[in-house]
């Protein structure tokens, strides 16, 4: 069986790391009866809980197909082999002095834009962000405009009707018993409430 140079280095590095960490990992602990029945995890470190790290990981998608961000995936789907590796890669970049934006840029350069949990608001992606809000705003404005126009028309119609009613004051008075303006307003409001 032939092993490539990269594969050899990865295996050798992993073995060396395992040999270095193993004695510390399990200090003060007893072996499980069936260790094969549960996932094996490394020790959680301060860096794993670093708010800067978790914040960056929430912006980046795990590439295992779970649709979750790296942080959620590595702390949820403990069978995923991608998110722990991406986490390590991120920690290495941070240890190398890269800031959050530089780390995100490095990930995009390596894995493509689909590693971002939300597309950058630039170019065609702007349509993604702006179209829903723009549609709702435009339709809302159009709706308000139509309503205002109709309200104006209704007011004009009411004024016309009032003027016509004024031409026949006796008949009107006979029908409604000459209510004053305040009484009419009170009745109108009361009816509106009853209609609620």
């Amino acid at each position: 069986m032939s092993v490539g140079r990269r594969e050899f280095l990865r295996l050798a590095g992993g073995a060396a790391l395992g040999a270095r960490l193993a004695p510390q990992d399990t200090a003060g602990a007893d072996p499980l009866f069936r260790p094969d029945m549960v996932q094996q995890r490394p020790n959680a470190t301060t860096a794993d809980n670093d708010p800067i790290v978790t914040e960056i990981e929430r912006r980046l998608k795990c590439m295992c197909g779970c649709n979750l961000d790296i942080y959620t995936c590595r702390t949820t789907d403990f069978t995923c082999t991608y998110s722990p590796e991406l986490h390590k890669e991120l920690l290495a970049l941070k240890a190398g002095g890269a800031g959050p934006e530089a780390i995100v840029t490095a990930f995009v350069a390596k894995y493509g834009e689909q590693i971002l949990m939300a597309p950058k608001p630039e170019g065609f992606n702007l349509a993604g962000y702006l179209v829903p809000g723009a549609v709702v705003t435009l339709v809302g404005a159009a709706l308000a405009w139509v309503l205002l126009r109709r309200a104006g028309r209704a007011r004009r119609d009411a004024a016309l009707a009032e003027a016509e009613a004024a031409k026949a004051p006796k008949a009107q008075a006979l029908r409604v018993g000459s209510p004053d303006a305040a009484e009419l307003e009170r009745l109108r409001e009361a009816l509106a409430e009853v209609e609620d």
């Binding site: 949820t76 709706l143 509106a192």
Partner: protein
């Protein structure tokens, strides 16, 4: 059994095709005997599909692994209640479940609908038969649940461990019931267009079906959130996954319809819009199934993908064309009977409510499909995840929440300035008091602050509405407050049930905002070691690892890790999270180990503990520990919403019944004082 099941599917297909054909031909040729046959065919289809469903269940419980579906989703050692729910665990069973339930609904609607709507019923039978026939066709030609294997395996593959959860026995059927029952309002809408009976008759005929469907969808979505929360272990309940989005879309349009239909009933307006909303809801329910079953969009929830996408796409296109053409043909008959008179009116508030709901539906659909669009336009794959959806939808959601409080405060037709002032004072002050209190205790998260303030405003609105009604009854009838409350609801169930639904919705928003203050920590502990986590309320929790115990249980090997919990030094008890390695009946491992979260829930916060795994094969354990504020209110909100929904659809309490009982004639003689207005349950309210 498979032979009988297969035979029944063919029988149901023939019966539904016949039923659909004679329904339309009978009405077209004005031959009532043919139309009557269509109604009878719905019962035949239902009977045949019930027998087919029984055959599949028989195969599942008999462990007939020669049936491909049984071998794929069960094993001999699967607990029986999960064998039962395996019926809808895969695509083929889901389709049979869908067709069977729809046929039951189709037969029920023919039985229970009043004779007043007899003219619509053959068309309703025809439409439901068309939809049932589509599902049976899909099963027979693309996803047959009775397909046999060329050999018989010793044991089945078993059920995905994530589906071995009590929530999964009830969440999918509930959601399916919601999706499926949308067909009935759709059938009535199409029947009204086909028969040209475009008065409010079809709305009255299908009102309860609409609410029922909406309730099923609400319950199904919330149960899905609960399942995701307790089973997936990521500490949240909504991830804007395409499957979740697909379930939300018809819920949003149905909610819009439930509001806008009131304008049609009251003022004879928005007829076209209402038909459009019902059609859109149905199409979205099919579309949701299409995008999640076809595999065009990746989803963490797609347990049941297959090759039925083409069938759904063709059906979707055909139904869209047919319903659009019909709506276009009847467009002139759907003229509004009145016009909106003022921007300050209940009608306008409902219109903006519809705008917000449909706007959110559009933005969810847009976000779900944007990766496909982007790839087509730019040639690059992108991801549209929770940050996108939250950014776009949170403002729209808050706008909707505000309208939930504003709508009931504005009078129909036109509200005067004095009326507005009087109505808005209490809710505005309530909202303001909430905002000041939150700022005083140090809440600085803008979105959470806005959500809770608006929730206070909505609560003020609902409280004011109830208080005015109760006060009036107490004054007029001398009832106690409790009795007045009871009578207020029972005499106008639709109005006050609706307000209770609004309380459920605001409770959801309060709970959603709480998650902005979630805290999480990953720790590794040996037995006896401790870690501390500060709650958003200021308490300090101390978690001490007690150890890992391992044992055999049912169809799995369990590794249970336990933590002793102290809150500010006071012992609280022990919380346990598990890893489960499932096995088949020969003891061979199946699937990867799954997680069972340890959850302690109270009104303020959830302690959420996940046993992530063992370190170096020892009882040294890595945990993900979270404190999730206000999660319990999501489930309580659902409960309130469902109670409110049930009240709105409960029989009786309407104006006609009340008048019949009391013998009160139309019109009224009492003076129009505030007290008298509040005491007029018979004639008042949107439920009248």
């Amino acid at each position: 059994m498979t032979l009988l099941g297969q035979f029944c599917l063919w029988l149901a297909l023939i019966a539904s095709a016949w039923g659909a054909g004679v329904a339309f031909a009978g009405r077209w040729r004005t031959r009532p005997e043919l139309a009557g046959t269509a109604t009878a065919s719905t019962y035949g289809v239902c009977a045949a599909l019930l027998v087919a469903a029984a055959c599949l269940w028989k195969g599942l419980f008999a462990h007939d692994f020669n049936i491909e579906y049984v071998a794929q989703y069960t094993s001999r050692n699967l607990p029986e209640y999960y064998v039962f729910s395996a019926f809808w665990a895969g695509q083929k069973g889901s389709l049979l479940f869908w067709a069977t339930i729809l046929s039951i609904f189709g037969a029920t609607v023919q039985t229970v609908t009043s004779r007043r709507h007899a003219e619509l019923m053959p068309y309703v039978a025809g439409i439901t038969n068309v939809v049932v026939a589509f599902f049976i066709l899909t099963m027979l030609f693309a996803a047959n649940p009775f397909e046999r294997l060329p050999f018989t395996p010793e044991d089945g593959r078993g059920l995905n461990p994530q589906l071995q959860n009590p929530g999964m026995t009830i969440h999918p059927p509930m959601l399916y019931l919601g999706y499926i029952s949308i067909t009935i309002p759709f059938a009535f809408a199409m029947a009204s267009l086909l028969s040209k009976r475009l008065d409010t008759g079809w709305i009255h005929a299908m009102r309860k079906w609409t609410i029922l469907s909406w309730l099923f969808l609400s319950a199904g979505i919330t149960l899905g959130m609960w399942w995701a929360y307790v089973e997936l272990g990521w500490g949240g309940y909504w991830a804007w996954d395409p499957v979740e989005n697909a379930s939300l879309l018809p819920w949003l349009t149905m909610t819009a319809f439930l509001h806008s239909v009131m304008i049609q009933e009251k003022r004879g307006m928005l007829k076209r819009w209402n038909v459009g909303l019902v059609v859109a809801s149905f199409l979205l329910s099919i579309f949701g199934t299409f995008i999640t079953r076809s595999g065009i969009i990746a989803s963490v929830h797609s347990f049941a993908q297959g090759n039925v996408g083409t069938f759904f796409l063709v059906f979707l296109i055909l139904i869209t064309i047919a319903s659009s053409a019909l709506l276009y043909a009847r467009w002139p008959l759907l003229e509004p009977e009145a016009e909106l008179e003022s921007l300050a009116s209940r009608e306008a508030a409902f219109l903006f409510n519809n705008l917000a709901l449909v706007g959110i539906a559009f933005s969810v659909l847009w976000g779900t499909l944007f990766p496909i669009l982007s790839e087509a336009v730019q040639g690059t794959k992108i991801t549209v995840g929770p940050p996108f959806f939250n950014r776009v939808n949170v403002p729209l959601g808050l706008f909707l929440l505000a309208l939930t409080g504003i709508g009931p405060l504005i009078a129909w037709r036109k509200a005067s300035a004095a009326n507005l002032q009087r109505q808005f004072i209490v809710p505005s002050v309530t909202g303001l008091v909430v905002a000041v209190a939150l700022l005083a205790i140090g809440i600085r998260d803008g979105w959470a602050l806005a959500a809770w303030t608006l929730a206070g405003f909505v609560l003020g609105t609902v409280g004011q509405e109830f208080w005015r009604g109760i006060r009036a009854r107490v004054k007029i009838h001398g009832e106690s407050v409790l009795l007045a409350f009871n009578h207020l609801i029972s005499r106008n169930r639709r109005r006050y049930g609706g307000y209770i639904v609004h309380v459920g919705i605001l409770t959801y928003f309060v709970a959603f905002a709480g998650m902005a203050f979630k805290v999480t920590q990953e720790v590794t502990l040996s037995p006896g070691e401790s870690a501390e986590l500060k709650s958003p309320y200021g308490h300090t929790y101390r978690f001490t690892h007690l150890g890992v115990s391992q044992y055999d249980q049912l169809n799995r090997w369990v590794s249970a890790a336990s933590l002793d919990v102290r809150k500010d030094g006071v012992p609280q008890g022990r919380i346990t999270s598990e890893k489960r390695q499932h096995k088949d009946s020969f003891g061979r491992n199946t699937f990867e180990p799954s997680t069972e979260v340890g959850i302690w829930s109270n009104a303020r916060e959830d302690l959420y503990v996940v046993y992530a795994g063992s370190v170096g094969g020892t009882d040294r354990a890595t945990y993900a520990i979270s404190i999730n504020p206000l999660v319990m209110w999501v489930w309580l909100g659902a409960g309130i919403l469902i109670v409110g929904g049930l009240i709105t659809m409960w029989p009786g309490g309407a104006v006609v019944g009340s008048r019949r009982r009391t013998g009160v004639e139309a019109g009224y003689q009492t003076p129009l004082t505030d007290a008298a207005i509040g005491s007029r349950p018979e004639g008042a309210g949107i439920g009248s």
